[in-house]
């Protein structure tokens, strides 16, 4: 891009709830300010004016869930200098990836849609990185608005944004919250989940349910799972804790698989 031209930004969605792009619309005043620094040239949810690519920065929400989307994401990648994927669906397949572990997709479609041949859907809900290289992943269900705006401003300054990878537990201690596991005996995924939410759930008196996905050092998921069983959860109930919003992320998937195997034996 030429130095005086504003970066051309596009926003697309795949299978998702729209909540992550809504974080951009919810940025309100910041959005109007950003509009002075960037050109949002394609954002179907916000504007009926849609320009074709290429784009300098593309934000994509949602998981790849249909045959058309497999093609669409490759095309988006080809037309984007920087590809940022936003949210649990884009980064780990999202809650709709709960179908992945069941092996029952076809049965779901056939059994539950009155006319299954009208429905085109992939067996798995895929994170975008299954198909194309991505430049930056912002996790969260939804993503944190501050992280999103911070990432966009970094890019405007020509720097790749740095995203915290530490667990919720660290943030929770830093804020001085009472530990919900210790005080309430409530299962909490804080030790293995990436922060970004500001330790939201423990701050609201409940256990973390993992919506920002695994933290970088989440290899103690097994030990945490055993702790949940000690707290009174069934093995199946414990597996479900991992198999949730970001359950298809490898670290959580493996923990859930192991627990389910255990439950089956």
């Amino acid at each position: 891009m030429s130095p005086d031209a504003k970066p051309r930004v596009a926003v697309f969605k795949m299978a998702s709830c729209d909540g992550c792009q809504l974080q951009l619309l919810d940025a309100e005043e910041a959005l109007l300010e950003l509009a002075g620094a960037i050109d949002i040239v394609n954002f179907a949810e916000a504007s009926s004016h849609m320009e074709p690519g290429p784009y300098d920065v593309t934000l994509v929400e949602g998981s790849v869930s249909t045959p058309e989307q497999e093609e669409q994401i490759r095309e988006i990648r080809r037309g984007s200098k920087v590809l940022i994927i936003i949210g649990a669906c884009a980064t780990s397949g999202g809650i709709q990836a709960l179908r992945n572990a069941t092996g029952k997709h076809e049965e779901f479609v056939r059994a539950v849609y009155p006319t299954p041949e009208y429905v085109a859907s992939l067996e798995h809900s895929h994170p975008i990185a299954d198909y194309v290289d991505v430049d930056l992943e912002l996790t969260g269900c939804p993503i944190d608005r501050g992280e999103l705006l911070g990432a966009i401003s970094s890019l405007l300054r020509g720097a790749m944004p740095r995203i915290s990878t530490s667990p919720v537990c660290v943030e929770c201690k830093r804020r001085g919250y009472v530990c919900v596991v210790v005080a309430k005996g409530e299962p909490c995924l804080g030790p293995v989940t990436r922060t970004g939410c500001g330790a939201l759930c423990p701050g609201w008196g409940r256990g973390c349910y993992g919506c920002f996905g695994p933290a970088q050092s989440s290899n103690n998921a097994d030990a945490l799972g055993r702790r949940f069983v000690d707290l009174g959860l069934t093995t199946k109930g414990t597996a479900d804790r991992f198999r949730f919003i970001t359950g298809w992320a490898p670290a959580f998937r493996e923990a859930a698989d192991e627990l389910e195997e255990e439950a089956a034996t």
Partner: protein, 430 residues
């Protein structure tokens, strides 16, 4: 014979993804399809086997714009099945949270999604250039709604505090009171915003319609009430699936709802609520309704924007009242013991009635779930609107025709992500 096709491959400024195909031959519409290509996400399928306590964290993921609606239909239904007595003040706090969602969703729709149409502008950023003060005011009102949700729910998109039995934590009175000056300011702005809406040149779509919403004798219905229609029907959540019926059509990943007995479409949302609950409008909301020319018994979908503004005003007035009277529920939640049976409930999402039904096992495991979102209930009605509206405007240039068609669809503030996740769950088990 002349042919003309109108293709709107991506309907802009709606939540989720849809397209519109129209074929015209000799001034007659020979094909009209509102295509919903948002992929199915199978919520009802993976709800099966989950513990009831997880439902308030699962169902909001259907929609980032109306997560509270999903949480509320779920927690009320499950609490009724389990015979839970929630702590005093819970009803009021839930209503307050829901008011936050109505404010945020309605203002988002009116100003960021719908109003640019009436000014023939592509988006709110352009509108911010032609109407800077108005857009700034609207965004500030929307922000109050968002902040109200965040103070009660922890965050406005997918709040974390609502649970079966109450809230994981109740907000402090002083945190809610801190919002009062902004809510009072917002209320003062609403009559002027009503005047702005009344000044917009609007198409008209007079048509007979059966409008459906919750009804309540004591308070404008959000969380609690029976069902009513302008056709004189009275029913409730327990008979919802007998009174209405869903139809699967080829071009849509969303099912269409019709009345079971007549097979006719119906229309849910703000205009229906105002129609059926006009006597419960709060004073300033009533004044705003009058200034926008909104009459009770109005069924022209183009009056939806006026109804949304009246309801935004009502939600602000109710928020002020609820915060002034707020006493934090203590404890914030009660323990819940599940029991087997069927949980059915409706609440009023910003875009219309949201029906949930859960069949639950004795240990609290969800056996079956059914969710009927407002947009799917309105889809058939939207297609019918287009068939009625189009013949008079068919000679307009493509660009204008496209805009007009989108306006007809946008009257319903469709939430396509909501409408698409759902499935019929009458599973035949081998």
């Amino acid at each position: 014979m002349t042919h003309r096709s109108v293709e709107v491959p991506v309907i802009a400024r709606v939540e989720g993804e849809g397209a519109l195909h129209i074929r015209v031959e000799d001034h007659t519409i020979t094909d009209l399809r509102l295509e919903i290509y948002e992929p199915p996400r199978f919520f009802e399928a993976f709800l099966r086997g989950r513990h009831f306590s997880e439902v308030p964290d699962i169902v909001p993921r259907i929609c980032g714009i109306c997560p509270v609606a999903y949480q509320m239909s779920a927690v009320h239904g499950l609490e009724r099945l389990f015979g839970v007595q929630v702590p005093e003040g819970t009803h009021e706090l839930r209503r307050l949270l829901y008011c936050g969602e109505w404010i945020e969703s309605h203002v988002l729709h009116v100003f960021l999604l719908a109003a640019p149409d009436f000014l023939a502008l592509p988006n709110a950023i352009e509108m911010a250039k032609t109407h800077p003060e108005l857009v700034k005011t609207a965004l500030e009102i929307k922000r109050v709604g968002n902040d109200l949700m965040a103070v009660i729910g922890g965050r406005e998109i997918h709040p974390v505090s609502p649970r079966v039995g109450g809230f994981s934590k109740a907000p402090r009175r002083k945190d809610l009171e801190a919002l009062l000056p902004r809510l009072e300011w917002a209320l003062e702005q609403m009559p002027g915003i009503g005047d702005f809406a009344a000044s917009l040149p609007s198409p008209a779509l007079p048509r007979p319609a059966e409008l459906v919403s919750m009804v309540n004798e004591d308070e404008y219905p959000l969380n609690v009430g029976g069902m009513g229609s302008t056709g004189g029907r009275r029913f409730d959540a327990t008979t919802y699936e007998e009174v209405t019926r869903e139809v699967h059509v080829e071009h849509s990943n969303a099912l269409h709802s019709v009345m079971a007995d007549t097979g006719t479409p119906y229309f849910t949302g703000p205009l229906a609520r105002v129609n059926l609950n006009a006597q419960l409008l709060t004073p300033v909301a009533r004044a705003v309704a009058e200034r926008t020319g909104l009459r009770v018994s109005e069924s022209d979908p183009f009056f939806s924007m006026a109804a949304r503004l009246a309801e935004t005003t009502l939600a602000i007035e109710e928020s002020i009242r609820l915060i002034r009277d707020y006493v934090a529920p203590d404890p914030s939640a009660v323990e819940v013991t599940p029991r087997a049976g069927r949980a059915s409930w409706t609440t009023e999402a910003p875009r219309g009635t949201l029906y949930h039904r859960y069949d639950v096992a004795g240990d609290g495991t969800i056996l079956e779930a059914k969710i009927v979102p407002p947009t799917s209930q309105n889809l058939r009605h939207m297609e019918e609107d287009l068939r009625i509206f189009l013949p008079d405007v068919l000679d307009r240039p493509d660009e204008e025709l496209t805009r007009l068609c989108e306006m007809v669809v946008r009257n319903y503030d469709p939430c396509i992500s909501c409408a698409t996740h759902f499935l019929r769950l009458d599973i035949e088990r081998a």
